[in-house]
């Protein structure tokens, strides 16, 4: 069955509507999925005008969704009303998947400040969605670029606290989570590399013991579960190997370890997958681009990739449901 994908415009004051317009104008979009746009039709029209494209109206449907009575578009400004709209849109889009009306959600860039003004009390939209969907399992963000997926054991914490958070359980859990998320995107047996914490992967214990005492045992535990996992590998070469096609995913120990490499690979093309949720949800790796809104300059590489990954996840989910 062709997967049904719901596109959310994202922050109406950012480049999301233009990006969605460009995605709709790409003939490959309608070929790979049955597409609906959920949101304010006037905002979609603004995006189409800004992008200067003319998508085939037969290639998608529009499901009007205007949760806020009066809302102005104020390009480049994070507003409370737009924030409320984003939160309502995310909830509605994902609920449609749980209700069986859609198979996956791709959203345009959101603005955190606007969402906070609009009432977001969670750490981010991923935790918000878990709450909205009443989901209590593990969730985590994965970054995808050029076929390489990364996830991390620790994220937004001081670097000096990282080593304390690197435990056999936390590394194993992150590895298992990476495996499951890639499997949910259609990878048969994803090849996962686990990055080391210390330089030269600790150089046999000379530059730190975490590889020997913590990371290697976690890798062994994952291998015992028949996962295709290797490591710990020195982080300055693991991404070079990944680029050469040796791995599908890298589990990183801390924020910058993965982000340095991913941003060098091509920031503009990156995708964020909200992993673990009961619904396939993907978005752009970049932000709302307030400085270029309305100029038609925003590039659709990231949203196009986000759409492709969401479609793959939706297809795998449907196949599993059918089995």
């Amino acid at each position: 069955m062709t997967p049904r994908i719901t596109l959310l415009l994202g922050d109406r004051n950012g480049i999301g509507p233009e990006l969605i317009a460009r995605l709709l104008a790409d003939p490959k979009t309608a070929d790979s999925a049955t597409v609906e746009v959920l949101g304010d039709p006037a905002v979609l029209d603004q995006g189409i005008a800004a992008a200067g494209v003319s998508p085939d109206p037969n290639g998608f449907s529009v499901t009007p969704f205007t949760p806020i009575e009066i809302i102005e578009t104020t390009p480049g400004m994070p507003t409370e009303a737009a924030g409320r709209e984003m939160l309502a849109m995310l909830a509605e889009g994902t609920r449609r998947v749980l209700d069986g009306k859609s198979d996956g959600v791709v959203f345009g860039p959101l603005n955190k400040e606007a969402m906070h003004k609009g009432g977001l009390t969670h750490e981010d939209e991923m935790r918000y969605l878990a709450d909205v969907l009443d989901f209590h399992g593990t969730v985590g963000e994965l970054n995808v670029l050029g076929g390489l997926w990364t996830t991390r054991v620790t994220s937004h914490i001081p670097l000096k606290h990282v080593a304390d958070h690197i435990t056999v359980d936390s590394v194993y859990d992150a590895t298992l989570f990476a495996h499951r998320t890639l499997a949910s995107a259609g990878f048969d047996r994803p090849r996962i590399a686990v990055a080391a914490l210390n330089p030269h992967a600790g150089d046999g214990g000379n530059f730190g013991m975490e590889e020997i005492e913590v990371i290697a045992p976690a890798v062994e535990k994952a291998k015992a579960q028949q996962l295709a996992v290797e490591g710990p590998y020195p982080s300055d070469t693991v991404f070079v190997r990944a680029r050469n096609g040796d791995f599908d995913a890298v589990v990183t120990m801390y924020h910058d370890q993965g982000q340095i490499a991913m941003k060098l690979m091509g920031f503009a093309e990156g995708v964020t997958v909200l992993g673990g949720l009961p619904v396939p949800v993907t978005t752009c790796g970049h932000g709302t681009g307030y400085d270029i809104v309305g100029q038609g300059a925003a590039k659709p590489g990231s949203i196009t990739n986000a759409f492709a990954i969401c479609t793959a996840m939706a297809r795998a989910r449907n196949a599993e449901a059918a089995a």
Binding site: G208, D256, I260, K263
Partner: protein
């Protein structure tokens, strides 16, 4: 052309590794516009010429000087510093090879200290082989710092697109965070500045990376940026250096690559090495800063697994030689 300039020396490296082969491969062309002399064992270099099939002959020098333009690309000038009696086996750790590699480096340091050569380019040595020979240094840098009489040295890692200096190098991440204090920051910034000047960059634009995610996000994800790194940057600015930061570690290298900065000061080994290796491991070069003479080296090891096959890629050593020449030109040596 550059025949009147001071020569650069290339040390042969561990003769059981790829060093001699890549030295020979480097010298089949005129890579730099000044004389180049190889310091090592003539028999080892002769063997490397045979293995690589290079159309070169050896000329053994008694002393430095008497370089001639006609020889470039046809002869290799060798200053014998070592006599191994016969070249060692490839691909195995041996005390004789460790000692030979070390002796070549020592000979080069002596020439550099007396100003007879413009600088040293070192082919890879093997730290276990040196250790087997009873030489207590863990690597080149320590030998050079000690025998060269340097107080504080730092590695600058460079490729065509990026240069970086590390505040901390070979220690655990936990220790790196401890050691990255104000003095270490300021010393690294100064060495980055000097390193760029040595490369002929007139007013180096130095970016300092943060330690924490998002450079601490205003203190939310760590205090080191506010309490340590920013004060060190201010101190460097007060010394008239063009220094900015702390910048988020995940975007600063991209910005440097785009030409916004000449060099990035990285807080810990992998922060600097992930981007350098990602952007071209085969073209990376190490520059040792803080020595009283120029020293560069390739960004790889002895590759015992392919030594003697003639397949080793000499690109990194060539780049190291080019960098050394560029630094020598900048100093008008």
């Amino acid at each position: 052309m550059g025949i009147d300039k001071k020569p650069l020396a290339i040390t042969m490296g561990d003769p059981s590794g790829i060093g001699p082969e890549i030295v020979v491969k480097t010298l089949v062309d005129r890579v730099v516009d000044r004389p180049v002399v190889v310091i090592g064992d003539p028999a080892v270099i002769e063997r490397a010429i045979d293995i690589t099939g290079a159309a070169l002959s050896c000329r053994i020098l008694d002393r430095l000087g008497d370089f001639d333009d006609a020889g470039i690309g046809t002869t290799i000038d060798i200053l014998p510093a070592v006599d191994m009696s016969e070249p060692p086996k490839f691909g195995v750790v041996s005390a004789a090879s460790g000692k030979a590699a070390y002796d070549a480096v020592i000979a080069a340091i002596d020439l550099a200290k007396t100003g007879e050569i413009a600088g040293i380019v070192t082919a890879p040595l093997h730290k276990e082989a040196m250790s087997a020979a009873g030489i207590r240094y863990p690597g080149h840098t320590e030998v050079l710092a000690d025998k060269g009489g340097a107080e504080r040295v730092a590695m600058m890692l460079a490729n065509d697109e990026l240069r970086t200096v590390l505040v901390t190098i070979h220690c655990s991440l936990r220790d790196a965070i401890e050691r990255a204090d104000f003095d270490a920051q300021l010393a690294a910034i100064r060495l980055a500045h000097e390193g760029c000047l040595a490369l002929g960059i007139e007013k180096p634009r130095i970016a300092v990376a943060g330690l924490n995610p998002h450079a601490g996000e205003g203190g939310l994800f760590g205090q080191e940026e506010i309490e340590i790194i920013s004060p060190a940057i201010r101190a460097a600015v007060a010394e008239n250096m063009d220094v900015t930061g702390p910048w988020p570690g995940d975007t600063v290298f991209m910005q440097a690559r785009q030409g916004r900065f000449d060099i990035v000061v990285a807080q810990y080994h992998d922060q600097g090495l992930i981007p350098v290796k990602y952007m071209g491991i085969e073209k990376g070069v190490n520059v040792t800063l803080g020595l009283p003479f120029i020293r560069t080296s390739p960004d790889h090891g002895t590759a015992f697994d392919i030594a003697g096959t003639g397949t080793a890629d000499a690109e990194s050593l060539r780049t190291a030689l080019r960098y050394a020449a560029r630094m020598a030109d900048a100093r008008v040596l």
